[in-house]
Symmetry: C2
Subunit: 333 residues, 2 copies
């Protein structure tokens, strides 16, 4: 646990980790400035089994990704080294996305055969949730990258989320196979020829309909979709509030509806989903939202536990090494 990463670290992060220890029965390793971590623990009046690893430096939220090269004694770098060395089953950080993606690549390293790790995000849907990837680790993509993303997303959905034969869809500006950009048309062919449970193209209007378990797209579009979901949901809630403040009947109605609204917000709330897995590196790494509170951190740790427990990294390693075996002979013909 990168105890110093995020806007509300170390307070909320340490609180979330303690909560996770109690709730999930895991034993957190808190990496960061020892005295500040101890200070937060002191205020809690309880202390489950946990470990503290001192790391003196902190990588700020606005620092360039390459700060991970300079700040060798930062909580983020030390956490990633522990993950690489197998000291922890998974790593969790609410620190800067750029730093974490770069650190995942440079410190933990890629799974052999995977060109680029991707960040996946859980989106709420009418039937629960779907996995969207790439949500922004890489702005540009080639058709082969989208195929690899699909394989990573499908393995993750199957083994970390427990979805059998997950349905994979490609985000596009039309459902027909011959519609789309050069990128999506080529990716569609690759996906259709793969062994995945590919259900075809999906349009923007079906992203939240629960039609697909895994939504594949490039990092630019994924980032726009993810932030658009956030922005549109809060715009609708703001309009709702505005409308409800008109008229006495509405005000009374609003009062009666409070519990329902709380449940809806919860279903839309990123804090409930906890974190975004970085898939494709040699370890289970979870990126939590920069403004994570203790609940989000606790849920991030839950996601990390499922990521590790599902042995997604080993399964992807097996998959891509078998692919290597298949491809080698053909190339030698």
């Amino acid at each position: 646990m990168d105890a110093m990463g995020g806007d509300r670290a170390p307070g909320e992060v340490v609180r979330g980790a303690v909560w996770a220890a109690e709730e999930l029965g895991i034993e957190p390793v808190l990496v960061g400035q020892k005295e500040r971590i101890e200070e937060v623990l002191g205020t809690l009046g309880r202390r489950p089994r946990l470990e503290i690893m001192d790391a003196r430096e902190v990588i700020g939220m606005d620092e360039a990704a390459m700060a991970i090269r300079r700040k060798r004694d930062s909580s983020m770098v030390r956490s990633l080294q522990l993950l690489r060395d197998g000291y922890g089953a998974a790593a969790v950080s609410a620190g800067s996305t750029g730093g974490l993606v770069a650190g995942g690549l440079l410190i933990v390293g890629r799974i052999r055969g995977i060109r680029r790790p991707v960040l996946a995000s859980v989106l709420p849907s009418l039937k629960g949730s779907s996995l969207l990837l790439d949500m922004g680790a890489h702005t540009e993509a080639r058709p082969e990258d989208l195929l690899q993303s699909a394989v990573m997303g499908a393995r993750y959905a199957e083994f970390a989320l427990g979805i059998r034969a997950p349905r994979v869809a490609l985000v596009n500006n039309g459902t027909e196979a011959d519609k789309g950009s050069e990128l999506t048309k080529a990716a569609h062919s690759l996906l259709a020829a793969s062994s995945l449970n590919f259900i075809g193209n999906i349009e923007g209007r079906d992203i939240h309909s629960g039609t697909a378990d895994v939504l594949v797209t490039d990092g630019f579009t994924g980032n726009v979709i993810l932030k658009h979901t956030e922005g549109l949901a809060s715009a609708i809630f703001a309009i709702l509030r505005e409308e409800l403040n008109q008229g006495l009947g509405s005000k009374l109605g609003a009062l009666l509806l409070k519990p329902a609204f709380r449940r809806i917000k919860r279903r839309m709330d990123y804090a409930e989903y906890g974190g975004a897995p970085l898939i494709g590196i040699n370890g289970a790494l979870i990126k939590c939202h920069g403004s994570s509170n203790a609940l989000a951190i606790m849920n991030g740790i839950r996601v990390a536990r499922d990521f590790a427990r599902g042995e997604v990294v080993r399964r992807l390693t097996d998959y891509f090494s078998e692919e290597d075996d298949h491809e080698q002979p053909e190339q030698n013909h």
Copy 2:
């Protein structure tokens, strides 16, 4: 008025045109199968000043764009010819988007200096609405196309929508100028150097915040955003309904809230916005949603009236011919 275009033509289209004639004081020219138009008019029991132009063929919603070449006597082709010839001040169709974009280009023709016409769409925002373009006329774009889109959107916003010095933003996966895809980084430079009121990059989360009047993006991303808005809004309303059906207090609350919900739905409803202008051709052309009802058609005609009244086409013609004048001497140096 293409009286035969759309899923609910000619019934809803003719009803919408009659409504517009009464409400807006315009005189519609209904293009399509005369006897079917007369049949609808007969059921209305009233007949404002209008004209009927017989056209025997109909272009179906699923026909390829190039049907406009084959079906010379279709309501869509005839409507576009009337627009080209200046017989009407503007044209409105709820027929297939592909056909209309192709027809706009081939029959009405481009404004000189504009490489590609774009479809713009009105998106609801916290402060009213914003104009998003391109919403899908072209899947791929070059940086220069985004600059032209911005100019077209800004002129349209100023003269058809009456927004002074409209704020133009570029949809991107980060607000910083050096963030984004190759396309958006290059487009950002062009926009920053232009005379537009360019306020910089905008992320997905601010698309509905009312920060910008004109949102510029490529047709792939624009299409995903537009359909995502539709899909997410209906998902949220579905969850709302589900949650409101739980518990007696909620049910009573829901009853009291009905008027507020109706107002919200109205604010989110495409029928209220009417239609998407195709900007960049030699005429004011509005594409209505394929499933438009009479209200959507009426509002589409209102949008077409504002498009024509604002003389957007003349202003764009002036702008791009001046640009020609400016650029020529430099090239001759």
